[in-house]
Structure formats: structure tokens, C-alpha cells
Symmetry: C2
Subunit: 224 residues, 2 copies
């Protein structure tokens, strides 16, 4: 039943897309509710009073917030279809460790290249971002996906990189990612975006470029 699962999202939220992809990979029917973050709906504020953010998954009337928490909930609730996390406790711990690394280290470091003002500051911010990319590249050795032969938890968490990195590069006019230096990540990005459950649920590139151009302009002109 479509009304059993609802997802509060926006068209471009990186954290919401993780959930969209997971629901499609698992074949879970759901209703998407698109939020305008400048006018958040009373439902969103009621379901996520602490953070007031998307994504929120509502299952049988009960809300779950925070994308990593939602992904684990989905995997534990619909466990018969396509597992996202490994079953072995050690392998599962590793997946959680790398998901946390992506959210706590990699994403903020790439984000800061985008937000820093001016070429020199951006070049400086690139150093830790590249270091984090090197760490993640290592994890793909002898694997198609972080989850092995199929897309799993860490792939979904890192998914923003696969479609957003070259949008960032176009907008800030700076090379973030050298495919020769990161052959495994480069292959992963292609495989990830080509997977049907992902490909059909990526935001339109031209709309992303426009969105991030406006955002970048704002970052470059406002004082810190």
C-alpha cells in the first residue's frame, strides 16, 4: 500500500536521495512528498521537530529521521529483499565505519572546496579533500562496489559523489577529481550512475548546475 510508506524529500537533497535509491533497490512502494525548504510543511516540522530537515521516512504513521538511521531501518524492516548491509557483525561494523567517514570527513572536506572564497583558498581546501578521496579509493580494491558485487549501504551514502562531483567542478571551474589518480573511484562512479535503480532517480544535471551556480555565487560574495 502506497500510503504505508511516505518519504519527505526535496528534488536535490543528497541525504534524501540515499533513501530514494534504497527504496527502489528494495522495490518498496512509497509516496514521495516534495518539500519546499523555504516553506517547510507542518507535517515535516511535526515529524522532525529536532532537526526540521529532510529526509523523513514515515512508516505506518511513525517517523524516522537522519539518513543513516533510515537506511538501517529500511534494511532491518524489509530484510527479505536485497540486503544493504552485510550480515557479519565485523563486516557490518566496517560498513558503518566508512559511512561515518563519508559523512564526518569526506563530505565536509569536498563541500569546503565548494564554499571557500577564491582560487587560492579553494586550492588549499583541496588538500584534505584529496587525502580523504585517497583513503576511500583504497577501500575499493578488488571490488566493483563498496558493498561487493552489488550496491550496498556505503555506496548509497557516498552516492552524492557519483553525480555531483563534476557539477561542482563545472560550477567552481576547478578540477576536484583526477580520474587517472582515482581509477577505482572513477569506475565506481560510472557503475553507480549506470545502475537502473540509481540512473532513474538522479536529479536533472542542468537543474543541479543552476542550483549550485546560485549557491556558489552566494558563498563567494557573502562575508564569512
Amino acid at each position: 500500500m502506497a500510503d504505508e510508506v511516505k518519504l519527505y524529500r526535496t528534488w536535490s537533497s543528497r541525504f534524501s536521495l540515499r533513501i530514494v535509491w534504497a527504496l527502489h533497490i528494495k522495490g518498496i512502494e512509497y509516496e514521495a512528498i516534495f518539500e519546499d525548504l523555504s516553506h517547510k510543511s507542518p507535517q515535516l516540522l511535526q515529524y522532525n521537530p529536532v532537526h526540521k530537515k529532510v529526509p523523513v521516512l514515515v512508516h505506518k504513521g511513525k517517523p524516522i529521521c537522519e539518513s543513516l538511521v533510515i537506511l538501517e531501518y529500511i534494511d532491518e524492516t524489509w530484510k527479505e529483499t536485497t540486503p544493504l548491509l552485510p550480515q557479519d557483525p565485523y563486516e557490518k561494523a566496517m560498513a558503518r565505519f566508512w559511512a561515518k567517514f563519508v559523512d564526518d570527513k569526506l563530505l565536509p572536506s569536498v563541500q569546503s572546496v565548494f564554499t571557500e572564497k577564491g582560487y587560492e583558498a579553494k586550492k588549499e581546501a583541496l588538500v584534505p579533500a584529496v587525502k580523504n578521496l585517497e583513503i576511500i579509493e583504497e577501500q575499493l580494491k578488488e571490488k566493483k562496489y563498496f558493498g561487493g558485487e552489488s550496491i550496498g549501504y556505503v555506496d548509497l551514502v557516498l552516492g552524492w559523489m557519483a553525480y555531483l562531483l563534476d557539477v561542482f567542478e563545472e560550477v567552481i571551474d576547478l578540477k576536484l577529481f583526477d580520474a587517472h589518480k582515482f581509477p577505482l573511484l572513477s569506475g565506481w562512479m560510472k557503475n553507480f550512475c549506470d545502475a537502473p535503480a540509481i540512473k532513474q532517480h538522479l536529479p536533472p544535471r542542468d537543474k543541479l548546475v543552476t542550483k549550485y551556480q546560485l549557491l556558489h555565487e552566494k558563498y563567494q560574495t557573502t562575508s564569512n
Copy 2:
């Protein structure tokens, strides 16, 4: 076997103590290795090359890092004894949500009252910290512990508050916590510290005061 489980920790690390308590609650025999963070051991750097931090749990020679990840690993590996997380996926998601709230919001907000320079700045930093305490207080309604009748995952994650808040208050000479305003948290702090598995594994208060006095002095004298 004692050499099966090793914990790299320091005497006072709040994140290490979560693991110490979990191991004792579960009755897991382990060897504690005390690190000097100004001279990290080659083993610590080898086991946690990404963050180079304690705690690291080594089980059968395999390292697990990040305290929240370690807690889940312990709960999934030694599942026969005293569960830390609820079994129901929704209840489990709620526990994960609140643990994340403690680490992402509550802890940094309390920490910033400690690190801010001068009385006025500290008073200002107190506003979001108190707001976060109010949110957490709400979660204790009709419960002894966040885990219900016994100490669970969220209790361990929030455990630093139970023994450290009044150390902070003494060191910075500012009331952080009004017991009348937070009767449930106040009761929880007492119950938590009195529980045998916790009480026997708390750092000595006088040593904590000395440590945080030195740290506070540093924060108050160095430029931001």
C-alpha cells in the same frame, strides 16, 4: 580468553568509557591498553590509521574504531547477554537517532560552554546547550533509563554527562545544569553513576578536575 578482546583507551576518554562500560555490562573479559595520546603507540596507529584515536576494540586480531560503531559491534557479537539496543527496528532506529543527537548536537554544545572565552561568551553558549538538554529530558518521561528499566545504548552514549557535568561546573565556575529544571535527567545521572558496572569504572573525580582545569586554562588564554 583475555587476549581475544583488547581495548585501546585512555584513563579519561569519554568515548573509550562507553566501551569499558559496555564490556562490563556484558561481562566480556578484555585487556585494557592505556594509550598516552602525546606518544601514540605504533599499534594504535596501525589499528586506526584513519583517525588515530581511541577507543579501538581489537577482537580476534581485527580492529573496530569509532565508539558508536564499536557499541553496535559488541551488541551484535555478544548478543546472548544483556542487550544494549532494542530488537524492534523502530525502537532501534530511535536509539540510533538519539545517540547521533548526543554526539552531533548535545555534546558539542556543552563542550562549547567549556571552551568559550569569558563569562559572557559562556553564558551565550549556554543557550543552545540548555535547549538540547531540554530535548533530551523529554525522552526520559516514564523511564528510569533511556534504555527503559536497564542501561542501554543511549545511556552509554550520554554517560559522560552523568559524571562530567559537575566537574565542568566546578572548573568553569558556572552552573550548567539546574536539577529543578531537569528532574528526570538529574535522577538519571544519579541512577547511572550508581549502577555497579558504571560506578566501578569511572575516572577519579579529583584527577578529572585537574585535567580539565589545565585544559580550561589553555582555552581561556590561547587566541581562537
